[in-house]
């Protein structure tokens, strides 16, 4: 494991703490600064030692960080991960009537003809996991991943389904998985936000709510690291203000604030000084993070990055690794491109070309750096696609009853397929995994009993899994 960055982080933390305690003249009480309304337990701990201070999980975790590659728009499991020869055989025929009882797709009349898979499947790796010919790179890491072919969700429209996947509820206002993680574990990154969001393709249906803090305090929300313009909003100083002027400005600001702290005694002032210092550090650390010049050519090539300055999914995957290395707790990629109601053959091929290599490279890169052991990697979208055709003969509608995701990393069984669907990839035939079960399991890997990672809001102890979720033991190593 490459530990230099960890040492660097520890040192930076130490320095900043020393500065904080020394220069600001505040003791530990000073860090109890944030005036968040604590309810109890973890929340109280949060406010006692700073909301982002490191916190212990309920039990020894298998993983301490997460990278979640969210494939928004809902990729077709039938072209990518779930081989269905029977579907090819019945191409053009109506699905069995009993299959459709009580079923609802989003757009189509369920009584639409079945559509055979557009791409061939093959066995990959020693484990022999069958995946699409479109995924040679994912195939190459087949022995490192756990394919969950029995995913299920409740929603069939994009925005509600994305919100459900990311926050455990179709209704707006709940904290995202990343926020829960940050709230539960605190942040190890002294110069970067603890929860970073990277977006490629277009904006997502769920919008900012996909990575929002919900009713948790704002600072648990995901911070988008943007391409084009300032990566972190308002990171650049106004024209004419160089780093030296900025330093002098902040020194002045801090001195004045410190005088005010001495006069008024409010520890919130100390927290403000710290926030401005952190902002200053971010102004250096974010560009450093984004500058891929230090990455060897072969690393860029592995991710399929030809132009390291060009925005996109591949670059985001590499940035994700760099973020994780720097102690960021939760990195979430959003790639909104998978809504193939039509043009399936061409579009899904393009999407695979855009994502397959880099997704796999991230896993193998993390593995080589010794980071995969305690990182959870998640790949998947908000639902699956219908075995039935939409439109002419080249599209699939939204389908919530069965779809595939894959996981890799700390505590996860590798080279393994969990769950299976019926002959058409329509229903789950064995070992169903609902969104809530997935989230319960991911929290488990992070060391949490999902029923006990709670936050009291409006008198109720809310959790990521609402009142649902059970541990999927079958995917645990």
């Amino acid at each position: 494991m490459n530990t230099s960055h960890l040492l660097h982080n520890a040192r930076a933390r130490l320095l900043s703490r020393r500065w904080f305690f020394g220069e600001c003249g505040v003791g530990l009480a000073g860090i109890a600064a944030s005036s968040m309304l604590a309810s109890e337990g973890r929340a109280a701990a949060a406010s006692a030692a700073g909301p982002l201070a490191l916190k212990a999980s309920h039990f020894a975790p298998k993983a301490k960080r997460v990278v979640y590659m969210f494939q928004a728009g809902a990729p077709s499991h039938l072209e990518l991960y779930d081989p269905k020869p029977a579907l090819a055989k019945h191409d053009g025929q109506l699905p069995p009537a009993d299959l459709l009882k009580g079923y609802r797709a989003a757009f189509i009349n369920p009584k639409s003809a079945l559509l055979g898979p557009k791409y061939a499947f093959q066995k990959y790796g020693a484990s022999g996991i069958e995946m699409s010919e479109l995924l040679p790179y994912t195939g190459a890491i087949a022995d490192d991943i756990c394919l969950v072919r029995s995913m299920q969700t409740d929603a069939v429209n994009h925005a509600p389904a994305q919100i459900l996947m990311n926050t455990g509820s179709q209704q707006f206002g709940r904290p995202s998985f990343g926020s829960w993680t940050l709230y539960g574990l605190g942040s190890e990154a002294s110069d970067l936000p603890g929860y970073v969001v990277l977006t490629s393709a277009k904006g997502t249906s769920g919008g900012a709510s996909n990575y929002g803090a919900g009713f948790l305090p704002t600072l648990y929300g995901g911070v988008p690291l943007r391409s084009g313009g300032d990566p972190v909003l308002y990171l650049s100083n106004p024209k004419g203000i160089d780093r030296e002027t900025q330093r002098a400005s902040l020194d002045t600001l801090n001195r004045l604030n410190d005088l005010s702290l001495k006069a008024v005694g409010d520890p919130e002032i100390a927290a403000r000084i710290q926030a401005y210092e952190m902002a200053y550090r971010l102004q250096a650390s974010a560009p450093e993070l984004l500058d891929l010049a230090s990455e060897p050519k072969e690393v860029l090539a592995r991710y399929g990055i030809t132009d390291p300055t060009k925005a996109g999914y591949a670059r985001n995957c590499l940035l994700a690794r760099r973020l994780l290395e720097r102690g960021v707790r939760f990195v979430q990629l959003f790639h909104e491109a998978w809504d193939q109601h039509g043009g399936l053959t061409k579009e899904i091929r393009k999407n695979a070309l855009d994502t397959d290599q880099a997704s796999a490279a991230l896993v193998s890169d993390l593995k080589e750096r010794g980071l995969l052991d305690d990182t959870i990697v998640v790949w998947g979208g908000e639902f699956g696609r219908t075995p039935m055709v939409q439109g002419g003969n080249d599209g699939r509608d939204h389908h919530n009853r069965a779809f595939t995701m894959w996981l890799a990393g700390g505590g996860i069984k590798s080279g393994h397929v969990h769950g299976q669907t019926d002959d058409f990839g329509f229903n789950v035939a064995a070992d169903p995994v609902h969104v809530h079960d997935l989230n319960a399991t991911l929290l488990h890997l992070l060391g949490f009993d999902h029923t006990r990672l709670t936050y009291r809001f409006q008198g109720r102890d809310y959790r990521l899994t609402d009142v649902h979720g059970s541990l999927v033991k079958g995917i645990l190593a």
Binding site: A29, A33, S34, S35, M36, L37, A106, F107, N109, N157, A159, P160, Q170, Q171, G173, T199, K202, G203, S205, G207, T218, L219, R226, G229, D230, L233, Y234, L235, N237, P238, K239, G240, I241, D242, E244, T245, A248, S249, L253, R255, L256, N257, L259, L261, A263, V264, G265, D266, E268, R272, A275, Y276, M278, A279, Q283, Q390, H398, D449, Q458, G459
Partner: protein, 1054 residues
């Protein structure tokens, strides 16, 4: 009152005898933070005989026991029958004493050791111990001790305090003129051996008042006026200022989840700003809170409702609307309904309701039934949207209406026998009507599968949700002998101005019919001839330009006449647009089959209706009917009149009568001059500047019943539920109407235990940073019992008695000594009471997001003070705009003075929260927010330092400083500092600031810093400099201003 006034009582308490009984209880219940300071009545009593009353009562049920029972036992032994175990309830004394299935009393009052509850919680057998280990809610030793002590003292139950009507508490005896707030605070503090803080200095107080009451810092002139006029006069002046409403409305907008977009994936714009302005105006005129609530929930149902009262009902319409492709509108209407109940719960009742959406609430008294009882009050509504007019326009409309009435009168005068003539005419018309059979569809879809039409019981088809180009309706009607088809365009309350179009003018490009015989494979088209309509516009030519790639050449298309429906040209449309306002009425087209159909039973029949244009011109409500009458045609009178004539006389509405009269009048040749006059009068109807989403009650015919939904699932109704209120709250008056208006009035009934308390608490929260009840959105059984319940109750009673005046309430609070205390923190006071729950010091916290921005604009002089109007679009980085799923091409940031309007007027887009507002913790309108949490993050720091508007404010503040702050840096420094913080800098502070200015000036002079860039953002441009100042001055002071605008003190209410 000065600090010394508190001393005598303080001393008395310091020397109070510590009786053994008290010590025992205190030891047993060490979790109790505030044993000696419970509710007012007792508190007053305590002053004289503290020990006695304590010894006899044991732990307080409300404060100490009930939270334990709710938290650890309530899930299985509470309100919810479904989840109840062993048939035992512990939340009701009688049941606890009787015990459950086992027959063992759970509680034996006075005898802890004989109580089953105690033996179970003490058990070490995993099978008998309570709570069961799998619940993962073990009791702490202190909690067990509390329960034992409580049972030993007699197991006294009290109803949850917040569900009992507040009574005016006895206020400790104090000198005349002392605010009861101060008297109560003094007695609580004294009981703890504490004293209040001294009054803050005048400048701090003045700034505190300004930030709290109007959300802006005082100018130097206003500070001087404060010194001259005094505190209370300033309070009155600020409450009378228009700026007051802009500040206080924002808190209600949080609760109302106000936004300028619809949310979800599409997140299209909506027009709601008139509702936002209504709230501002209501605050400014101090509309009594009860009226404020009633108008927002049911203003449309008030007698002779005004436009304002209808606008007010936009409150509940602030929910997000899903417009994603292929959604089912009803599914997401239900989500909106849940959101409305949630909003009312948080905003008015202070109750969490979400749990009861799926099942009976686990800890508060709202059953699953009762939830849908509340739901039923609000459910019988249309999702309406209408034009909103200015007062001048309304006067003009009234004038047109008067003239229209006069013209009608002229017609009646001209034909004195009109009533009889009209009756004859109507009879003739009725006799000529043919029988149409509405077609019941078996399958409805659309060409892009994006719209899911729904058919109502009267066979009307409503097309809500996403738009689509062509609607496809399939059916199996009786086609034997069918001669023609009728397509009615109909109005519906869910549509803008009731439709029939989605936005306004609508059109239909093509109508096609086809059939598939039983056992057949193919759809065979039917030939349609002889189209007629009640109304068509004269032919107009649209020139459709060639496509950019040149593949499609320019095309001239003729729209208008009904023949376009069946002309085979899919681009030319039948248009039945009668013009502004009058277009919102039904229309009809009739087509004949080339020859009467002779098709066997079971033949499938498909109608395809191709809509003109895109979303905005789509027909949104229609009905398809068939007839066997020979050569059917549409009568050449308004279809509204035909529908009215078909309605039996006793069921006709005044609108029906008017439609018949109108049609008759139009058909009279000699009334043509009057008809022409009326037509031109309609053209005088003004064009409304905006619209609003609002509530409207459904018509009797379209009454909607409410069902209890299984686990809250929209399409899983279990049983019908009538409107009713939770039994635990005050009763619904027997004589009140069981509709939205009755419900709204019930909410603000003075008998409500919650409504006034919740409102009062929120005002307190705004002023002190935290409510007396910390969980201002939850007064339920799990909310912490407030330290100052006596203040809360006293204020709540006052509030109602003073006519629900919010201004009066605010005045009462800010005039108190408690509010005026210095906020200085000592390490002692911090350690003792970090959250200032005891109110031994004044409030100090960072101001809200909007105020942060407004302060920068105000002190720099950039601010534009103007009340109301459409949302002002702020600059947002391109890479934020690019994150939208649906790119907001309308996003053109305001320039000039509009750019510097107050933040309450900023355009709010749900899926793209304003980056500045969000980093300072403003909610984005996803759902109702009763209290903002306050964070302190690097992202907020970056916004304050670098966001364009803040940078512009720094530049403007620098120029203002140079202009007004004197000619030397020392006096400028004093001035700028004073503008930002409302106080002069200390010697240390000015030294630090001037050293910075000097260093930066030198850096500019030495060429290291480009003065032009710093002062304008452009390398070649300088601002207009005040006389006798240099670019170096401007640059150095811009940098200094940027520092000053980011001072903790600038952003903080001190």
């Amino acid at each position: 009152m000065s600090t010394t006034d508190f001393l005598p009582r303080l001393l008395m308490w310091q020397f109070r005898p510590a009786l053994p009984a008290v010590v025992a209880v205190v030891a047993a219940v060490s979790l109790m933070p505030a044993l000696l300071s419970d509710r007012s009545a007792r508190a007053a009593e305590l002053v004289s005989t503290p020990a006695q009353s304590l010894a006899s009562s044991g732990p307080d049920y409300q404060r100490d026991v009930q939270p334990i029972l709710a938290e650890h036992c309530g899930h299985c032994h509470g309100l919810d029958e479904q989840s109840r175990k062993g048939d035992l309830r512990l939340d009701i004394r009688q049941n606890a004493l009787e015990g459950g299935e086992s027959g063992q009393p759970a509680i034996v009052p006075g005898k802890a050791d004989e109580s089953e509850l105690v033996s179970r919680i003490l058990s070490d057998d995993p099978d008998t111990i309570m709570p069961p280990p799998h619940e993962k809610k073990p009791l702490a030793a202190t909690q067990i001790a509390t329960l034992k002590a409580w049972i030993a003292a007699g197991a006294k139950y009290d109803p949850h305090w917040a569900f009992v009507l507040p009574q005016r508490p006895a206020v400790p005896a104090v000198a005349n003129g002392t605010s009861p707030i101060d008297a109560i605070v003094a007695s609580h503090l004294a009981a703890k051996g504490l004293a209040p803080s001294p009054e803050a200095d005048p400048a701090t107080l003045c700034r505190r008042l300004y930030l709290d009451l109007v959300g802006l810092p005082p100018s130097p002139e206003q500070l001087a006026a404060f010194e001259a006029n005094g505190y209370e006069k300033t309070v009155d002046a600020l409450l009378a200022s228009e700026r007051y409403g802009e500040k206080w409305a924002r808190h209600w907008l949080d609760l109302a989840r106000y936004s300028d977009t619809n949310g979800y994936e599409k997140d299209h714009r909506r027009e709601m700003w008139v509702w936002r302005d209504w709230v501002i105006a209501a605050f400014n005129r101090d509309m009594p809170y009860d009226q404020f609530v009633v108008e927002q929930i049911a203003g449309d149902l008030l007698p002779n409702a005004t436009q304002e009262q209808v606008v007010a009902t936009g409150f509940l319409r602030n929910s997000a609307i899903n417009e994603e492709g292929a959604i089912i509108a009803e599914e997401f209407r239900m989500v909106e309904m849940f959101d409305r109940i949630d909003c009312l719960g948080k905003a008015v009742l202070g109750l969490t309701t979400q749990c009861a959406q799926c099942h009976t609430h686990k800890f508060d008294p709202i059953t699953h039934d009762e939830y849908y009882g509340l739901f039923a009050f609000l459910n019988n509504t249309y999702e309406a949207r209408s034009y909103v007019y200015t007062p001048e326009q309304r006067a003009a409309i009234d004038d047109v209406r008067r003239q229209l009435a006069a013209a009608d009168e002229k017609a009646r005068t001209q034909r004195p026998g009109w009533q009889q003539e009209m009756a004859v005419w109507e009879q003739k018309m009725a006799a000529g009507l043919v029988a149409w059979t509405p077609v019941e569809m078996t399958e409805m879809s659309s060409s892009g599968l994006l719209t899911h039409p729904t058919q109502l019981p009267d066979k009307t088809i409503l097309m809500l949700g996403h738009w689509d180009k062509e609607m496809i309706f399939e059916s199996k009607p009786d086609l034997r002998g069918a001669t023609g088809l009728q397509l009615e365009a109909l109005t519906h309350g869910d549509l803008f101005m009731q439709g029939p179009g989605r936005e306004g003018a609508w059109g239909v490009e093509e109508l096609k019919c086809s059939v598939k015989k039983p056992g057949g494979e193919k759809w065979e088209p039917l030939s349609l001839v002889n189209a007629t309509a009640d109304f068509s516009v004269a032919e107009r030519i649209e020139t459709r330009p060639a496509s950019p790639d040149g593949k499609t050449p320019e095309k001239k298309i003729a729209h208008g006449p009904v023949a376009k429906l069946i002309d085979g040209d899919i681009d030319s449309a039948w248009e039945s647009d009668r013009g502004h306002i009058v277009r919102h009425q039904p229309s009809v087209a009739v087509v004949q089959f080339e020859k009467p159909l002779d098709l066997p039973e079971g033949t499938e029949f498909k109608v395809a209706v191709r809509m003109a244009g895109s979303n905005s011109r789509m027909l949104a409500c229609c009905r398809v009917s068939l007839t066997t009458a020979p050569e059917p045609a549409a009568p050449p009178i308004d279809h509204a009149a035909i529908l009215a004539i078909r309605t039996s006389k006793e069921r006709r509405t005044p609108a029906d009568e008017a439609a018949i009269f109108e049609a008759w009048r139009q058909s009279m040749a000699d009334l043509q001059p009057v008809n022409n006059e009326i037509a031109s009068l309609w053209k005088k109807m003004p064009q409304a500047p905006t619209t609003v989403l609002h509530m409207a009650e459904r018509t009797h015919a379209q009454h909607r019943t409410t069902h209890l939904l299984d686990r809250g699932t929209w399409n899983q109704p279990l049983r019908e539920i009538g409107p009713h209120v939770p039994a635990a709250l005050h009763p619904f008056p027997a004589d009140a109407p069981r509709n939205r208006l009755g419900f709204a009035r019930w909410l603000v009934d003075p008998q409500s235990p919650l409504t006034a308390r919740v409102a009062v608490n929120r005002i307190w929260q705004t002023l002190f940073g935290t409510g007396l009840v910390e969980t201002s959105d939850d007064f339920g059984t799990r909310s912490p019992v407030p330290e100052y319940r006596d203040i809360l109750d006293w204020l709540a009673v006052e509030f109602v008695e003073h006519g629900w005046s919010q201004k009066q309430l605010i005045r009462e609070i800010v005039n108190s000594k408690t509010y005026r205390q210095s906020s200085r923190v000592t390490s002692e006071s911090l350690a003792h009471d970090p959250g200032n729950r005891l109110l031994a010091r004044g409030p100090r916290f960072r101001v809200d997001a909007e105020v942060v921005r407004d302060i920068a604009l105000a002190v720099s002089g950039l601010i534009t003070q103007k009340t109301g109007g459409p949302g002002v679009i702020p600059p947002v980085p391109q890479n934020v705009l690019d994150y939208n799923y649906h790119y907001p091409s309308f996003w053109k940031p305001a320039e000039g003075p509009e750019r510097y309007r107050r933040a309450v007027y900023l355009f709010r887009k749900r899926s793209m929260p304003d980056p500045v507002m969000a980093s300072f913790d403003a909610p984005n309108g996803d759902l109702s927010c009763a209290r903002r949490l306050r964070s302190n993050t690097p992202l907020a720091a970056l916004a304050g330092l670098n966001e364009p508007v803040f940078v512009e404010a720094a530049r403007a503040l620098a120029l203002r400083t140079l202009r007004e702050g004197g000619s030397d840096d020392a006096s400028r420094g004093h001035y700028a500092f004073f503008l930002c913080t409302s106080r002069p800098p200390t010697d240390d502070e000015i030294k630090v600031l001037l050293a910075f200015v000097a260093a930066q000036r030198k850096k500019v002079a030495d060429g290291w810093t480009n003065a032009r860039e710093v002062t304008t953002g452009e390398g070649e441009k300088l601002p207009v400099l005040p006389g006798n100042t240099t670019p170096q001055d401007a640059a150095a002071w811009t940098l200094a201003a940027r520092v000053l605008l980011n001072l903790d003190e600038t952003l903080t209410k001190n």
